[in-house]
Symmetry: C2
Subunit: 495 residues, 2 copies
């Protein structure tokens, strides 16, 4: 995916600022200067500045142009003592917020914190479905029955690495999807996010480079930064997924070398794309050739029809070098926080890391999930669930069409619970998200999905936890706010 | 606590080996040489070698004396690629075990892994009580009722940072103990171990020095090493707890400086001691004076009578610089894995770290615990629980007296569920633990509680999860094995 011109320019200035050639407080080149040196239009120059401002690298002073902001905030430091000053927005947060989230991906942390302080009426950000779409009553009954059959379950020390019954059921369900596994190859975790964190801790150490898709799930970027790891963004398209050519080049030439690859081959978050089975196989072979562990995040796989999505990449793993991570939080029960992983040759290490970080997982939820998942009711439920999501996706598509017309481009995926909207090139998704939040509509702005000042005019909408009426209203509100968030509306500010 | 002579000598040789002056494969000085240069008896010299061998720093070759083993294994590296070779024991584990647990505290990881591969009949290691001592039936009923009253709890996204009801109940219970807190100052975690890990991540970064008690809970040492932090062991006595003089000196002079202090002022694990309220207050003041955060682990506080144990140190925290960590896994329900912390001025940072590492805690257990803990039944239960533990402690004391006579010294604490046995100076607790494990008796050998080759002749016995008959039998087995684990029995090997 080639970046729009303004993003290329923003990228370039980011490099210059990080190199130290432009320092905090320095006056930033004028719009006119950028137009001349880069040979671009005024609107492109302004847009590039806008992106850098969204990103917290520039600050606009009334009638004085742009000034360089603190860049420490975007470097990888986890020490609270590292020098760091807050960028100016958001003004609502206390003065030292930057320090609070130092090394935890400022932009993501800031947005999560802002979202928490406002009342939210329509939640397009949380990527789960509503309780009515999950097998709520069945799980509740299953839990009651587990409590009856295991009266001491709450006061007995939990089994190591997960309950054998859940591990066995998960293994069987994997085998059905063409990925044969033994129960004892599976480790139960606190959600997929813990699995991803453990995978990274097992194979990397501070300062290492990790290849990620661009864009990628913001949780991955935040985990990387919190562990002091450096993301290397590999171009990823909404049609084919990660570019294998670009990845190969990175594995071949990158210095310091790439230590791990994190990838969502099936129903990518946020793009929604799924790689073909042939490409998944090629991905595994590529990582194996360079002896770099592949961390596969497969969390959305069962939210769409299997025939359209293919197998997990792990199905082609012949020597345990793929670390498979998933959870039941999207597909079965977000209230249980059950995740799991098959860490291949790193399993012993991952399990010891998990022990030292959070010990074992309590068993009530595990047995509840296992007893439902071992039955055929689970298969029937999955089909219903997928159909419900498809219905909501359809509804969202119509609302987008109606409210945005051709201003917005979307590729509709064959599963999952989110859409990746491409707004007009001169729109600021961050601005749009902020204004929408003021009206109680919570979305995930594109810049959260990159560690560079990119994705400025993309927006992720999750539609699983909202009603059809909310989809309709929420999208109308977004469309109404869009014109105020386009660059021509803000040109006056600095030109 | 002054170290016995052989440990001082072992410490010294550890420093020499780590300095690189003695390298892997080098012949270690002969017993005779050690006797001459250090001016000690043969038995002391042999014992020092024995400690270094337990620790994996030396390897005995038949008729050839001692050779230096791999020292990388004891340095702090988290990269699996760092050069590292396994020590020779235990022979049962696969060849690359050292690499597996590289940077995860070899000795602790090795013992945990060994323990898992053997059948255990008498578990003196797991520091919890048996289900019959906990309010098992009451909690089970409470859980069933929560499921009835909150039918969608398993399929609803969990609330951030913990359920308000549990946070409020915990805050009220703290206030009763003289530590006023607001519910919103509390963060719910996956056990106390996650709380400790988050506290460290919030205030330290890789390479930092953290002051710990000596001995200290092995989970702290493992967490430190897994995060690439350096423990600095502060002498700690079974009578008074951590030496405030030694701590002050360390805060004053240590280079690189101490970044955090971790302390268990009440019912220390493994010593069982509790600091006086005056000393707790002095500890808080000391850390505050040096502006170093104090991480307080208070997990055993409610296993003993409050009048004997005093308040938490956090009660004297005036500016949010104490990070308080605890859990319900010892005192209420090990099967729930509920922990919590009050992170003071680091709360926002801790919560974002928790979000990036493991998101939120599922709510069924939280509401179950809250509904029991808000009732007076909880107070009545606590008294019963403490009395039960005291009864078991009494039983263990008698068994030790009967089986060991004066060979073993123990200080009996006023709470908790463990005893710290001082074996004869020439005994190897690691050897004893290994032999006992062969017979199905699992204990925690002293060296797990230090990052230096110390505590060789100490043993921790947890008595909460075993019956009186098991206590009796287990201790008899240990006493029978002891003579084979004293240095004179192994002198022949290398002298
Ligand atoms: C791609 C992806 N991976 C991981 C996660 C985290 O999953 P869990 O909630 O199971 O920790 C999410 C959830 O937002 C996700 O979208
Ligand atoms: C002193 C101490 N802190 C923390 C822990 C870990 O607690 P949890 O099981 O709540 O994670 C333990 C348990 O062994 C302990 O003894």
């Amino acid at each position: 995916m080639t970046q729009p011109l303004y993003q290329q320019i923003a990228d370039e200035y980011q490099r210059i600022i990080h190199s130290g050639a432009l320092k905090r407080g320095d006056r930033f080149p004028s719009i006119r200067h950028i137009m001349q040196t880069q040979q671009v239009s005024m609107s492109t120059a302004v847009q590039a500045c806008h992106v850098l401002e969204d990103w917290g690298l520039l600050r606009a002073k009334a009638r004085a142009g742009y000034f360089v902001e603190d860049v420490q905030a975007h470097k990888q430091t986890t020490s609270p003592s590292a020098a760091s000053t807050a960028t100016t927005h958001p003004t609502e947060l206390p003065e030292d917020w930057a320090k609070r989230y130092d090394g935890l991906h400022q932009l993501i942390s800031q947005w999560l914190a802002e979202a928490e302080q406002k009342p939210v009426h329509i939640d397009f950000m949380t990527a789960v479905a509503s309780p009515s779409l999950y097998p709520t009553a069945q799980l509740n009954r299953a839990a009651t029955s587990v409590l009856r059959r295991h009266p001491e379950i709450l006061t007995t020390f939990a089994r190591r690495y997960g309950h054998p019954k859940l591990r066995a059921v998960l293994a069987r369900r994997c085998a059905e999807r063409g990925m044969p596994l033994e129960g004892k190859a599976i480790t139960i975790t606190h959600g997929c996010i813990e699995a991803l964190n453990l995978a990274l801790r097992a194979v990397c150490s501070k300062g290492d480079v990790v290849a990620v898709e661009s864009p990628t799930f913001y949780g991955v970027l935040q985990a990387l930064e919190a562990q002091g790891l450096q993301p290397l963004e590999i171009p990823t398209s909404a049609e084919h997924g990660i570019s294998l050519d670009a990845l190969e080049m990175a594995l071949d030439t990158q210095q310091p070398p790439v230590r791990a690859v994190i990838c969502m081959p099936t129903l990518h978050n946020p793009l929604g794309c799924s790689m073909s089975d042939a490409n998944k196989q090629a991905l595994v072979a590529l990582c194996k050739r360079y002896q770099v562990p592949l961390i596969e995040d497969d969390i959305y796989a069962q939210t769409g029809p299997e025939q359209a999505l293919g197998k997990p990449a792990k199905a082609w793993d012949s020597d345990g070098s793929v670390i498979y991570c998933s959870s039941l939080n999207k597909v079965l029960a977000p209230g249980m926080r059950l995740g799991w992983m098959a860490a291949g040759k790193w399993q012993a290490r991952v399990e010891m890391l998990k022990y030292s970080q959070s010990r074992y997982i309590d068993e009530l939820n595990q047995l509840t999930a296992a007893s439902f998942m071992e039955s055929q009711a689970y298969d029937r439920y999955l089909l219903r669930f997928q159909a419900h999501l498809q219905q909501l996706r359809h509804c969202a598509a119509q609302a987008i069409e109606r409210s945005f017309g051709t201003q917005v481009q979307v590729i509709y995926p064959s599963g999952g619970m989110m859409l990746w909207l491409r707004l007009p090139d001169d729109a600021s998704a961050l601005e749009l998200s902020k204004r929408a939040l003021e009206q109680g509509v919570l979305t995930a702005p594109g810049p959260m999905f990159s560690s560079k000042p990119r994705m400025a005019h993309f927006l992720r909408l999750s539609y699983g936890a909202v009603s059809e009426a909310q989809i309709e209203n929420g999208i109308r509100i977004l469309a109404q706010l869009l014109p105020q968030c386009r660059i021509h509306a803000t040109l006056a500010k600095t030109a």
